[in-house]
């Protein structure tokens, strides 16, 4: 019986790039400007041939082998045993920037006011209260789900999608479904 590892299922097929998830996170945590925990990136035209029409909503991937945790000198990160959520304890953080430099997905961001790092901690307080993460709850298209990636068996789901870099050593706990394209009739 594999351990539970929570992560996001980003259904790019359903996703309409409405940014509700990103704003739901801000609504919950009121982050400093430019300290974005969840960002919605347009998929490039090379991959999806209509500008700004397919989107990757990305936060922290709560990797199975998180680099942030490895490089932190003060143990301000820990990975929860019960569900694999990687929590950042900002009180312990000394703002050294190691995690920010080491995470290839750019999840930890520097907060210039607090002079510390911070990142998505999968709304663990909400999870423990039996609630969904703010972004998952806040998606009107039902395109963002919280799944146990060790159990998630959707045949269309992949761990790496075009536009999302592959860092297999980290083993990011995220899954995607690719978008589809319409048949286009132009004048």
């Amino acid at each position: 019986m594999s351990k539970k590892q929570l992560g996001f299922f980003v259904d790019v097929k359903r996703c309409i790039g409405c940014f509700s998830c990103a704003m739901a996170c801000k609504n919950q945590y009121h982050q400093e400007k430019e300290v974005v925990w969840r960002q919605v990136y347009p998929v490039s035209e090379e991959i999806y041939p209509h500008r700004q029409s397919a989107w990757l909503s990305l936060a922290c991937n709560h990797c199975q082998n998180p680099t942030c945790l490895k490089v932190c000198p003060v143990k301000a990160y820990f990975k929860r045993d019960k569900d694999g959520v990687v929590v950042h304890e900002q009180d312990k953080c000394i703002g050294c920037g190691n995690c920010i430099r080491s995470c290839p997905y750019g999840a930890p961001r520097y907060n210039p006011v607090a002079k510390k790092a911070e990142k998505c901690s999968l709304c663990w307080q909400r999870l423990d209260a039996g609630l969904k993460p703010a972004c998952v709850q806040g998606c009107p298209a039902k395109a963002l789900q919280l799944v146990d990636v060790n159990q998630f068996a959707d045949p269309e789901a992949v761990q790496y999608i075009a536009g999302f870099p592959k860092f297999a050593a980290l083993n990011p706990s995220v899954r995607f479904r690719a978008p589809s394209q319409p048949r286009v009739i132009r004048r």
Partner: protein, 198 residues
């Protein structure tokens, strides 16, 4: 009340003053206390400048609320605002505009300082002096200098406003010297927080 408290009182009334008349009255008091020189002034122009800086209706250039300078995300009625409300409660005070006006408006904070100073001038109470030192070191000096800098960086500042702000800076400096050396050597040089979009 000593000169410092009277000065503070006039500054308190200045920063909350709603119109030209009250701004003029506050400045005249400051002049009478010897804090600044009074020159011929179009007080209506001061009022327009005051609103441009502190009130609106356009986004104010330097809104005088602590939370905007202290919070991760500058907004009104933030966690730091409520801590200030709790501080007042602990001293048996409440803002008469609670919930409508953020508790951390500069004038309300100057008001609590006056109260603490006055109390301490009458009697030497360790608890009170500890509270005053705490409020000064853990709150006022963390945001008021940034606010002052924001104001002084504005162009075309009318003289009375510049004068009032300089007096505020002077008072803050003099009170800091009263705090313990341990506090003074703390790194109080927080960067002036960029108010978003302003």
């Amino acid at each position: 009340m000593d000169i410092a408290s009277l000065t503070l009182g006039a500054l308190r009334d200045f920063f909350i003053g709603p119109d030209a008349e009250s701004l003029e009255a506050a400045i005249r008091r400051l002049a009478a206390l010897g804090g600044l020189s009074l020159e011929h002034q179009d007080w209506r122009e001061v009022e327009y400048d005051f609103n441009r800086l502190f009130v609106g209706p356009a986004p104010p250039a330097a809104p005088p609320y602590a939370s905007l300078y202290l919070e991760n995300e500058p907004r009104l009625m933030a966690e730091s605002t409520l801590r200030v409300r709790h501080f007042y409660q602990m001293l048996g005070c409440i803002s008469p505009w609670q919930d409508a006006l953020p508790d951390d408006h500069l004038s309300l904070e100057l008001d609590v300082c006056i109260m603490l100073r006055e109390s301490l001038l009458n009697v030497c109470d360790h608890k009170l002096s500890e509270l005053y030192a705490y409020f000064m070191a853990e709150h006022l000096v963390l945001w008021v200098p940034a606010f002052i800098e924001k104001v002084l960086n504005q162009s075309n500042l009318t003289r009375p406003i510049a004068g009032a702000v300089h007096l505020l800076a002077d008072w803050l400096e003099s009170e800091r010297s009263w705090l313990a050396p341990a506090v003074l050597t703390r790194d109080l040089s927080r960067p002036a927080v960029q108010l978003t979009g302003r």
